[in-house]
């Protein structure tokens, strides 16, 4: 089943081309959309919501064409914007109820759903207070709640972890994971941190300059670019030479060595090499893939 699909999607603004011949398909579950600022993520979301006309190509959301059936799409899709969007003088409950009504729910149903959803995102007693006094974490929760309140089939989350502290980030990511699995709502989540999305996504799409860089299941993603970082007290040159001799691919990264993981045996080779050379090993760490790695990759291949 396809949740959304674009075909040669292009959007040109007077001065920039935000999306350039983008062709992607997204299935159910949690999908990450990664790209640097200005990569075209927000433009793509606006087009998917039917709020922006594409300059070329087509896009379908839940089988509906964005240019002709925008209103129908918006009825069953939730959207959490990147920016602040909460009026400070309303309480989270009032606001969420109002937004549910705006999606076509009756007042009674809206109240019930708002109470449910606010509880799911983790807002309790504070939901009766005016939102002006909320912390960033609480605001992000309300923003997520208003996107979920009408029980959409797909939610588009634009940078949901923006501005959160590490704990808030973890909680938000856990929540996104639950939306995709437990709630059964498909999620398209954008971020400029690939490492963050790795933890919750089933599938990741990387775009840059409006072009598709890569679209693959999360498994393939980490496999193909797995590296291990090794730091030794002295003698990294000797270690590098030894590892190369044993057929491993090694690159220097400052004081550290990056070793490409070909197979699980690489770890054994590495351990043995360090022992043989009698080096003091400071740390060995599985490489956290960053967005830069993906951008670098096509050059290496």
């Amino acid at each position: 089943m396809t949740i959304l699909a674009t075909e040669g999607l292009t959007r040109r603004f007077p001065r920039v081309t935000a999306l350039d011949q983008l062709t992607v398909t997204v299935g159910p579950g949690v999908t990450g959309l990664v790209g640097a600022n200005g990569a075209g993520k927000s433009t793509l979301i606006k087009i998917l919501l039917g709020l922006l006309e594409p300059s070329g190509g087509t896009a379908q959301v839940l089988g509906m064409d964005v240019t002709t059936r925008g209103a129908e799409i918006r009825r069953v899709v939730g959207y959490m914007p990147e920016h602040d969007c909460l009026p400070p003088d309303l309480s989270a409950t009032e606001f969420t109820v109002h937004m549910a009504q705006m999606s076509g729910l009756t007042r009674t149903a809206a109240r019930e759903r708002a109470a449910d959803v606010l509880r799911h995102v983790g807002l309790y007693e504070e939901r009766y207070r005016a939102m002006g006094g909320y912390s960033t974490g609480m605001k992000q929760r309300v923003k997520l709640a208003q996107a979920l309140v009408h029980d959409p089939r797909l939610v588009l989350l634009d940078e949901p972890t923006n501005g959160l502290d590490p704990q808030g980030r973890d909680e938000m990511l856990a929540l996104i994971r639950r939306i995709g699995s437990e709630f059964g709502i498909s999620v398209l989540v954008t971020s400029h941190l690939l490492g963050e999305l790795e933890r919750v996504c089933d599938h990741v799409i990387v775009i840059d300059g409006g072009k598709l860089l890569r679209s693959s299941a999360i498994g393939e993603f980490t496999q193909s670019t797995q590296t291990v970082t090794v730091e030794v007290e002295e003698g990294q040159d000797a270690l590098a030479a030894r590892l190369t001799e044993l057929g491993e691919t090694v690159t220097f990264h400052g004081r550290m060595l990056l070793v490409h993981v070909r197979a699980p045996e690489t770890f054994d080779t590495l351990r043995d090499a360090v022992c043989e050379l009698d080096l003091s090993l400071i740390r060995m760490e599985q490489g956290r893939q960053r967005i830069e790695d993906v951008f670098r990759e096509p050059v290496n291949v």
Binding site: L49, L51, L52, A71, E72, R74, R75, V77, G78, Y79, P81, H83, D84, C85, L86, P87, P88, D89, L90, E94, H98, M99, Q101, M102, S103, G104, L105, T106, R107, A109, R113, D116, R119, H120, Y124, A130, Q146, H150, D151, R178, E182, F183, G184
Partner: protein, 292 residues
Amino acid sequence: MSESTGVIHDIGYRHYDGARLGRGHAVLALTVHSLRGVFGLGRTARAKIIPFLLVGVMMLPAVVSIAIMAVVKQKGLGYTEYAAIMQAVLAIFLASQAPYTVAPDLRFRVLPLYLSRPVTLVDYVGAKLAAMTTAMFLLLAVPLTVLFIGEMLIDLPGDTPTAAYLTSMAGAVCYAVLLACIGVAIASFTPRRGLGVASVIAFYLLTSAVSTVLFATLESMGNDTAAAWAWLINPFFLVDAAVQVGIFGAKPAQSSIYPSGAGTAVAIVIMLALIALSVTALIMRYRKAASR
């Protein structure tokens, strides 16, 4: 996390399979939400002070008129001149409350949330205008109706005031539409509420001052025909001239004389043009805001 919250979590997520109503329902919900907001309902206690104070002031002449009728058995304030006499109060209400309907949504960027739902931009603008129009209408129609009921109960000898009351109601609808459109359109150009309040009140002061000065100047020059046209610059006298006096033949408010002959037609055209201009400006403003 406390134990109780853990228990609540166990209920799990429930899907919603109830009714999903159409755009009309959403527009109505937005209108009601905005209308309540205009009167400070569902907002802080502080937000209720100004609207209710002004409602109180609007009611005063009606109450006093009823008292005069009851005690002295004499007619008090006329129905059709009510709006023109109380124009400063109506203008202050418009200036203080019209920005509330539009400015916060722009300033706090709530607009994208509305637009990501089935409502369109025109629906949004329509709902905001409907809310402000209803508020202005209520502000004017409630005292007029109280006055009418009071007069019917006291039952003064002479003509029944029904015709005058109905004329003033038709006038109230036009006042409400014109003022709401102008007020909301001006307010929508700035996301800052304070600036919106100042702009709307400045618009009122400017038009009323220009109209008065121009009238006085032309009259002193002995040019009475031209002077009569000067009244039309003030939106309150414009509606009075176009609708209440022009169409229904009521007595002009405040002994002002309106242009005769083609005057009515011109006044009606100006009124409609102002409404159309405001609505167009609003829609263009929001097209721009939405594309950001």
